[in-house]
Amino acid sequence: MTVTVHYFARLREELGRADETAELPTESISVGDLWRHLHGDAPPERLMVAVNQEQAALDTVVRDGDEVAYFPPVTGG
């Protein structure tokens, strides 16, 4: 499966990248496990996530072609 990943704000700066494409040998993965796969450690506290531009949780399941975003708590408009 192939997943598009976006990072925003402080997290984008700390990771040094805004986007990446993840290739995985499975048919599905949770948002939390995807983070572990990409970064080798547990998701940081207060991490917010979205799948296909909808708010999601660490146990939300991601499938081939999905768009996943990780970001800090929103500041609001």
Binding site: H6, F8, A9, R10, R12, A50, Q53, E54, A69, F71, P72, P73, V74, T75, G76, G77
Partner: protein
């Protein structure tokens, strides 16, 4: 109902005047408008610039969801959200919320509700540039400020 993001300074009153033309003047007894601008201070510090990051696609969807919820609660004839993104200078308009209704309480309460939700829930992240040249990510909006 419209949600518009601007990467350059926009004229909020011109946008309101334009949006209003789509609503019959005889029906819209009430218009309620809020315009927020970037101040040159925050929490006692002088702020010289602001970078407003958003999530293209999701930010628009969340704003549309906020408007749709207001439309389900109040009898609105129209609604406009305009929001700035990217690099902002002090004095620039940051956010415009405008609501039209036959009645003033509906227009006022819907405008206030949309603004509060936008301030707390919408996917925006702010980084302030301070007078000494340093940057800081804003952690959250202070209620009411």
């Amino acid at each position: 109902m419209a949600v518009e993001l601007y990467s350059e300074d926009f004229d909020p009153w011109a946008l309101v005047a334009r949006a209003e033309r789509d609503i019959p003047a005889e029906a819209r007894g009430a218009a309620s408008v809020f315009v927020g601008r970037m101040r040159d201070f925050n929490e006692d510090d002088t702020v010289t610039g602001l970078f407003l990051e958003h999530y293209p696609g999701m930010t628009e969807r969340e704003l549309e969801r906020i408007v749709a919820e207001a439309e389900s609660r109040w009898p609105l004839l129209g609604c406009l959200i305009a929001h700035r993104v990217g690099d902002v200078r002090p004095g620039d308009a940051l956010v415009l919320v405008a609501t039209w209704s036959a009645h003033r309480i509906a227009a006022r309460d819907a405008c206030s509700d949309i603004l509060e939700r936008l301030k707390h829930e919408a996917p925006f992240w702010k980084r302030e540039r301070l007078a000494d040249g340093s940057d800081r990510w804003v952690e959250k909006n202070t209620p009411g400020f």
